[in-house]
Symmetry: C2
Subunit: 402 residues, 2 copies
């Protein structure tokens, strides 16, 4: 039997927040309260940055209604960070842990956070310092490997489905062409969820474009014209990260075509979130392709997709809580490190079980939307995606029509 | 006693849809079913356009679960139109009515729709044709005169409040400056609702700008710096229609300053909805005013504000239904024309009563946000606005913080 490892624990949140990331934090808090070997539970302010700057907050004792209110609030209650620690940074993290008798580290985040957890874990092992490190999955992008899906995705996908459902009725009211840009630089999981809005024949979105499928402006124009000629309207869902066959972002190509500048972020990527540039460029481009005057509008869903208060999938909420609790249970049960993953049960009614996977299996690389969910023409999502996504999103309202 | 006026009725929907405009339609359908003097209830497809093109759908017989599903669906189920009929157009409407023995006309819309109803009514009077015309109020802008508030506003304001609540937690997670652009070219009612998101000291939005208050880029820069220096973050809500003291739109001024083109619509207005241009320009402008590198993002809430499925204020829903029913009751009760308005009861618990007002009192002009709700500096909304708006929006989730 593994001897009990007594000591303190640190929990942190990293990367883009979600609507349920505080559920995972609440899961850690309540499981840690039940674990006598965890003396203090320290929340790191703004993730690993708080660790190296010594900014911690004591989390033991939060419970009851206060814990539930915290769990139900979107955003990262501890604060988040975009820092991607290298080995030197991780050494500082490890030193901060050793100085505080920290024996448990729970890091809620995506693939970069799993990689940080992996490096810190290896440093501790090399130093012969027993540290149990668990990555707790979180991302609206749904692009972590191994797990069936990621906590945070279901609620963001619910937002997209509800938004698209309303947009379709709005588009049917005033007609014309509507382009809606959805988060996802590399993976189309979130954009694919827009298909859940369709309940009747002719319901939009009529066209769906994801980064996994090469995007061509020529085909786009043809696709939009075909739908518009048929229905007198066209609702389009597309990922911010759509790119051509050579991986060149469409936002950049359009900027060149339209003779406009495009802003770039610190990594040289064109800025796609927190700006309406792709949607605006596409609307302008497609406007020029029609002879007649047509109502063309573009919206970029932006940060509401991950933060809108009160738009939460009940399944996502419960699973986010569960992976937090499970990480603590795994860590105190033995000399384990890893990431918590979800496996879908092979039952007719939806259910999942948690399992432990290695940090290396989740760190760094991501998981694209599989080709089976994309139609042959690359301009829509297959009906088979509904069985995958619907249970994660929860029940949707029924559309009434005349 | 007024003799019963037997004949057919027409109902139409006009202008920008809302989340509850179909509640008003359902109200008309159910009240008409109870009115034996209304023989047929015809729904005009795409408002007055359907009337002059003879495109009608029979609405009698819709009831039960089908009616409720319809009522709960966002968008204009009959289709909407942006047509603003002149006298010649109204004559065609009147002729279409006379040819079909239409004696009741219910038009769900904003101030332009009230004006259309007014002209059609006057033409009927001049021709000695008895026609009872009722305007049924609808607008997310909340800018109709006479009525305390407009059906459609409460649900859109709820969307804005929930969005801002989540945005504030997102901004507190990753810090930096966030600009969110809210619908409203002339009236700041919807943007003002963003103040409902604030529950604790330091909660955002920290700055709120409405079209009723002249906007200066110099003051904006000073305001943002002051908040950012104090909190390390800043969440800003602003109306798409903000303009300087001379009524010149800020989007246009920024375009000139940044050397960028700005698109204009058919009326020569810069296009503000269905584009991210104002937010993007402001983000770029403010970025240039900081020496250090700061995370600055902009989102434009766009059409989701009026169409998001499942984000409905229960009060708004009930009132939208009620004004539809009441219009039919007024019309069949006597030789009346007018618009249905809401008066707030002077009781401690929120409640309203309906009353009839003249078409001329609602047509054309609109109602701005009163100065009493805007702070002296013109960069925020007063706390007193909460008492006005909170009952219309419904209960909001409580924010949990560590």
């Amino acid at each position: 039997m593994t001897p009990l490892l007594k000591g303190n624990a640190v929990v942190g949140q990293s990367g883009g927040p979600t609507a349920v990331i505080n559920q995972s934090l609440a899961g850690v808090i309540e499981a840690a309260a039940d674990a006598p070997m965890i003396r203090r539970l320290l929340g790191a302010r703004h993730g690993v940055r708080g660790v190296i700057e010594g900014k911690f907050v004591d989390l033991k004792g939060i419970g009851g209604a206060r814990l539930e209110r915290l769990a139900a609030t979107p955003g990262s209650a501890l604060g988040s960070t975009r820092d991607k620690p290298d080995e030197a940074y991780c050494r500082k993290i490890f030193e901060a842990f050793a100085a505080r008798d920290v024996r448990y580290f729970f890091y809620i985040g995506g693939n970069d956070s799993a990689d940080t957890a992996r490096i810190v874990n290896e440093l501790a092992q090399r130093a012969g310092y027993e540290l149990r490190v668990f990555h707790i999955p979180k991302t609206i992008d749904n692009d972590l490997r191994v797990t069936d899906h990621c906590p945070g995705y279901g609620s963001a996908a619910r937002f997209v489905a509800l938004a698209m459902m309303g947009e379709d009725r709005d588009n049917a009211s005033l007609l014309g062409i509507k382009i809606s840009v959805i988060m996802g630089r590399h993976a189309g999981w979130l954009t694919a969820a827009s298909m859940l809005a369709r309940q009747n024949t002719d319901d939009g979105p009529h066209l769906i474009y994801v980064p996994e499928s090469p995007f061509s402006l020529t085909q786009f124009t043809r696709d939009v014209k075909e739908v518009y000629d048929r229905l007198g309207r066209c609702l389009i869902a597309l990922s911010e990260g759509i790119a051509d066959g050579h991986g060149k972002e469409i936002a950049v190509k359009l900027a060149l075509k339209l003779g406009k500048p495009v802003e770039r972020d610190e990594h040289g990527h064109p800025q796609l979130s927190g700006t309406g540039v792709l949607g605006d460029f596409l609307a302008e481009y497609i406007k020029g392709k029609f002879k007649e005057k047509i109502r063309i509008r573009a919206d970029t869903y932006g940060y509401l997709q991950r933060s809108f208060a009160g738009c939460v999938s009940p399944v996502d909420q419960a699973e986010a809580r569960r992976v937090g609790r499970t990480a603590v249970k795994y860590a105190v049960a033995g000399d384990f490190d890893g990431s918590v993953a979800l496996r879908r049960k092979k039952t007719s009614r939806y259910g999942v079980e948690c399992f432990r996977t290695k940090l290396t299996s989740v760190a760094r690389e991501t998981k694209d939307l599989p080709p089976k969910y994309i139609n042959r023409a690359g301009n829509n999502i297959s009906e088979s995606f509904r069985a995958y996504a619907a249970p994660l999103v929860g029940e949707l309202p029924r559309i009434g029509r005349i």
